[in-house]
Symmetry: C2
Subunit: 419 residues, 2 copies
């Protein structure tokens, strides 16, 4: 079979599986998830052996950066984490079947909205083989079939994990095609997959901006994604100085390589002279390199100048751009111009400013007096996270299980016709 027909066959089987899956009870899905956790642990050596093959091939070809090689490499600990993740998903409430509201029309029709699975979800990702297990768990729990398309560098690891999960599905009389890894490493397979709007309901790409832009450009299927996270903190005049320093350090340095890390710090001109030296000292301890606007550089000698590109930059590194602004209006205008609709925070004691920031900044997550690092499905209480969206359609911000469902209208009548 050629690539096109192989991918179509996978997608067709996924659709058939998703229809079966939408009728499976929560109990049956949870039983399977708990068994999957056990089987991942039991077969850890097999997964690690396949992963070692991937890692050794990647090292030979030298195509992967050190960071990507690190993400590719599994250990007993990451496999234990995968199993633990399965158990946690099993313990979450099932988002399907929930009737969110119901109302009666003047003609007596009772109209409600019931949450149902999306159907078939395609995940396109790079290097990390643990995404295979994590995404499979979330899709299964929400009643969706999943088609996983990892990077060619992780193919042996991904197939090993998938086989273990499929064995559990089979033993539980659940459709095996509910979890599939595309075994074709040719890029053509992705291109074919992105055309299959008849079978696949949603594409979630996880990886670098380049990967995501390529997926959006080619896909006929809706894509949920964020290109980047250029997150801001605005330190207002009169902010609690210690709180502001603490939050800025946490947002920038606790894990600088993630999308909700701080990238640009905006400081009110009336607090800059006092706040910036304190913040700079704390950030320096955390090895953060600062780049500043001309006014910032008057207060902090020896830091580099921030250029226009810096305001757009997602460093994903221990680098922070700093700008002094006239007040909340200029801060909001800066975020509107340079932001990525991801996550922004204000540090303030001013009630009106807190409310204005929450109301007027339309990024997907907006915080008062807290670190941008909280923009995360687990931290916000969604119980899980399948991704973060900065596209306003369907889901905006961190996505949990509920975002893997949609709502249909259900209507109880007793003979009504339209006049």
């Amino acid at each position: 079979m050629d690539i096109k027909n192989s991918v179509i066959a996978i997608a067709r089987n996924a659709q058939a599986a998703s229809r079966q899956l939408s009728r499976v009870s929560s109990t049956a899905k949870n039983t399977a998830l708990l068994q999957m956790a056990e089987e991942l642990l039991k077969n850890a050596d097999r997964i690690l052996a396949e992963n070692a093959r991937d890692v050794s091939l990647a090292k030979k070809s030298a195509a992967l950066s050190k960071a990507m090689l690190e993400r590719l490499t599994l250990s007993k600990k990451t496999i234990t984490g995968m199993a633990q993740g399965m158990r946690e998903v099993a313990a979450l409430p099932d988002p399907t079947g929930k009737v969110t509201s119901m109302w009666r029309r003047p003609n007596g029709l009772l109209v409600g909205r019931m949450r149902i699975p999306l159907g078939v979800i395609g995940i396109i990702y790079e290097s990390r083989p643990n995404v295979t297990a994590d995404a499979a768990a979330l899709c299964l729990k929400s009643g969706n079939a999943v088609i996983l398309r990892g990077g060619s560098e992780a193919i042996n690891s991904n197939l090993a994990i998938c086989t273990i999960l499929q064995n559990v599905l089979r033993k539980n009389a659940l459709p095996e095609a509910a979890i599939q890894v595309i075994p074709i490493t040719d890029r053509e397979a992705v291109r074919e997959m992105l055309q299959l709007e008849e079978y696949i309901d949603l594409i979630i790409p996880r990886g670098g901006e380049e990967l995501i832009r390529a997926v959006v450009a080619e896909s006929k299927i809706p894509v949920i994604k964020h290109y980047k996270g250029v997150c801001h903190i605005f330190v207002d005049a009169g902010a609690d100085m210690e709180m502001a320093v603490n939050i800025c350090c946490n947002a920038k340095a606790q894990r600088p390589g993630v999308c909700n890390a701080l990238e640009t710090l905006l400081v009110h001109k009336d607090i800059a002279r006092k706040f910036l030296p304190l913040a700079a000292a704390a950030l320096k301890k955390a090895n953060v390199i600062l780049k500043g606007c001309p006014q910032t550089r008057k207060l902090l000698k020896n830091i580099a100048a921030a250029t226009e590109e810096d305001w757009y930059a997602e460093y994903l590194d221990l680098v922070l751009a700093v700008r002094i602004v006239d007040g909340i209006d200029e801060a909001i205008a800066h975020i509107e111009k340079y932001g990525s609709l991801h996550t922004e925070a204000i540090i303030t004691k001013d009630y009106a400013h807190a409310q204005r920031f929450l109301n007027e900044v339309n990024s997907s997550t907006v915080l008062v007096n807290a670190s941008t690092r909280f923009s995360d499905g687990f931290e916000l209480g969604l119980g899980a996270e399948i991704g973060i969206s900065t596209t306003k359609l369907h889901a905006y911000g961190p996505m949990g299980l509920e975002e893997l469902t949609t709502a249909k209208f259900i209507i109880y009548g007793n003979g009504q016709v339209r006049t």
Copy 2:
């Protein structure tokens, strides 16, 4: 300016307008909507004159079908309808600013979700100039800027309506670019528009399947759409015969040219002998032509055979395909295979069958004992309708004002950092 740059300028202005608009009070938006209603009526002659130009050009070129010519033609009555629509939208509740839920995290963070406008909405439509006013009203009310791209055949009518609405915006110190009609009739303008994901948040195409497929294939921006409505009614064994006949006639014949009209009737084999002659007689009175499966043709002589294509057909006409099935399983399987995820109904007295149909059929609207014609934003109590979606992302089924918004996370903290 070339086409590309003209379209970019329009989209940029729309985005700037949308940011202003998201901060405008409901009162200000409603005031503008009521004035727009008045101005449409006051300027009816001007609109009709421009419309007459469009109609006369269309007649000369003979490129439009009779039905499209009919849709293109405005009258005093349609303009009164447009004005009335504006007033009705003004009276609806504002969907923005609503905080749908709020919860406290163990670390004290208070997390909520607030509904906000999508931003900029692009509407691509054919012939009907009243869509210009209707869509503009819904977008304005929900705080969105709108870019309207009607058919070239309606360009003078659309521009006339748009100018009237923009005058009201200007008088109310609202951004004029909140409502824009693309003045370029070249198809290139649509292609350019569909690339501008940086400025436009959502595309809603309204028109024939061909138009919609072309939009989906080219768009980088999320598209909400339905290709077609192949709606089914399943008449169960033991259904109330009079109710079933009544509902089938209403669903098929009350307005056959719309997407929620009945296209395929599925009849339980145990009721077919009694029900089909009654239904056929009533449908014949309504001038409906039947096509049947072999078993149906044994009971109803003189009707044509339904071919495989008939089960996929959206007739949009007084034609109905009829099939006898073994029971609810075969009915659901038929709908899964041939359906379009639009609207399906069961007519039954059986409690378990009613619940199974509601739970297992995952079309966007599923009814028990009521006509498929109720799948409509107004009829379901949404207050308005901007379109119907059979794509499961964001909105599924009829879309009202709320579907023109998204939800951002708002978070109240008091110094929390992530550990």
